[in-house]
C-alpha cells in the first residue's frame, strides 16, 4: 500500500537530516531542502538523489505534495507565514510540543508529523521503531501523513495536539529529568574519586527492568522499602548540599506516597 510522494523539507537540522534520508530510502522524492543561508541545505541535498537546495521561501512552482517544517519550535510560525506555497498544499510541522493551530490560519492544509525521538547527526537510528505521531487538518491530510509515516515506521499513531503536549510533558520527566539525575549521581561519585562508569551496568539494567516490568513494579531502593534509617543516613551525608538534599527528600516522599494520578 506504499504510495510514493514528492516532499519538500524546510530546515536542514538534525530532524531534517534523518527524515530526508529515510524518506528517500522509503521511495519518496525529496524536491527541495531549505535552510536560512542555503548552505546546510546544500550539504544535506548533496547527500540526497535529486533534491535542490535553496534559501528562498517561495515555492510557488514546487511539485511537492507535502511541505515538512523541520525547524526549531520558536521559528515555526515565523517561517510558515513567510512561505509561499501553491494553495491547498499540506504543510506539516514536526514539533512535539506545538499545536496544529500554529498553521491552521494559513492558506494551506495544516498537519503535524512528529517523530518521537532525539536525533544526532552522527548516529543512525532504526526509524522503523520510532513512534510517529500525526495529525491533519482534514481527513485527506491525515491520510497523506499516515501513508508517509507508515512508510518509515511501524509505530504510527494519530494524536491530537493536546495528547502531544501530554507526551512532551511526560518526556521531560522520563528523559530530561532522568538525565539530570544521572548528572547528579556522576557529581556525587566525583566527590569520592569514583568513576561514573561503575554505575553504567546498574543504570542499564534498571532501565531495561523498568521498560519490561513497568516502572511501578520495578521500583526498588530505601524509599519504597520505607527504610527510614538509610534515608536518614543519606540525608545526613547530603547535609552540606541543601539542593541535593531537597531533591532527595522530595523524590523519596513521592515514592513513599505513590498517590500519583
Amino acid at each position: 500500500m506504499n504510495n510514493y510522494y514528492s516532499i519538500t523539507i524546510i530546515g536542514a537540522g538534525r530532524v531534517a537530516w534523518h527524515l530526508s534520508r529515510h524518506l528517500e530510502t522509503a521511495g519518496h522524492h525529496i524536491c527541495e531542502i531549505w535552510s536560512p543561508d542555503g548552505q546546510s541545505a546544500q550539504q544535506l541535498a548533496d547527500r540526497l538523489y535529486e533534491a535542490t537546495s535553496t534559501d528562498q521561501l517561495n515555492f510557488e512552482h514546487s511539485e511537492a505534495e507535502l511541505f515538512l517544517l523541520a525547524v526549531p519550535d520558536d521559528a515555526i510560525r515565523q517561517i510558515a507565514t513567510k512561505l509561499v506555497l501553491p494553495e491547498g498544499t499540506v504543510l506539516a510541522h514536526t514539533s512535539g510540543s506545538k499545536g496544529i493551530d500554529l498553521l491552521t490560519d494559513l492558506p494551506y492544509v495544516a498537519g503535524v508529523f512528529y517523530p518521537l525521538q532525539t536525533f544526532s547527526k552522527e548516529k543512525e537510528v532504526d526509524f522503523r521503531q520510532i513512534p510517529v505521531l500525526i495529525e491533519g487538518e482534514t481527513p485527506e491530510a491525515t491520510q497523506l501523513l499516515k501513508d508517509i509515516a507508515s512508510s518509515l515506521s511501524k509505530k504510527v499513531q494519530y494524536a491530537t495536539s493536546e495528547q502531544r503536549k501530554t507526551l512532551h510533558l511526560a518526556a521531560v520527566f522520563a528523559c530530561n529529568f532522568t538525565n539530570h539525575l544521572l548528572t547528579i549521581a556522576s557529581n556525587i561519585l566525583e566527590t569520592d574519586e569514583l568513576d561514573f562508569k561503575l554505575l553504567h551496568p546498574l543504570i542499564n539494567e534498571t532501565i531495561q527492568k523498568a521498560l519490561h516490568l513497568g516502572p511501578d513494579l520495578a521500583q526498588t531502593g530505601p524509599a519504597i522499602r520505607r527504610d527510614i534509617g538509610t534515608m536518614r543516613a543519606h540525608l545526613e551525608s547530603l547535609s552540606d548540599n541543601p539542593e541535593l538534599a531537597g531533591i532527595y527528600r522530595l523524590l523519596s516522599e513521592s515514592i513513599m506516597e505513590r498517590k500519583l494520578q
Copy 2:
C-alpha cells in the same frame, strides 16, 4: 592466575543465586548453602554440583576458605553473630551500603564482596561486566577477595566502606529516583490514554546518550534551554497536581543552576 577456592554461601536469595552459579562456573567449589529454613538453600544447592544445604549456622567443620554473607542488609549483623566458623576464616558480606565494621569485631577476618548490580532470579546477567567492589580487613583477605572477584568479573576494584556508601547514594539518584520519574511519566501519559511504550525508544536513546557522552553534555529540554514559556505551560498543566508541579519546579531549577558539587 586463577586459583580455585572453597566457598560457603550464607543466604539463598537473588544475590546468592547468581553468585553461587557464577563462582562454580569460574571453577570454585561451593561447599554449603544456608537459608533460614533450609528449603531455598536446598533448591539452590540442587542446581549446583556438590553443595550441601543447611539451616544450621554452625560451620566448625566446613572446608570453606571464604564465607559470603548474601543476606538482607538488616540481617547481616544478626546472622553473623550467630555463625560458628573456624577461627580466622574470611567472612565477607555482599552489601553495598553496609560498612566492613559490621563484621570486624567478630573472631574472623572481615571483608566485603559487593557486586554492583540488581539481580532477578529469572534473568541471566553477564557477570564479566559487573563491577565488584572489594574490601578486606587484612591485606591477605583483600587479596583473596580480589582473586575470587577477578575470576568472575573484569571490573574489580578496591573501595573503602566510605566509597561504597557514596556509590550507594549515587545509585539511589541514578536508579531508584530515575525509575520513579519513569513511573511519573507513565502516570502522566495514562491521563491522556497514551501508552508508555511510545516513550520507550526515546528513553533508551536518552540513556545511551547519557552513558556515552556523559550526562552533563547530554542534557536537553526546556530547563537547560531556559525556555521559560514551555516550563510555564508545563507547570500550568500540572496545576491540579501540586506534588508533580513541585518535582517539576525543583528539578528544572536544579538544571538551570547547575551548581552541583
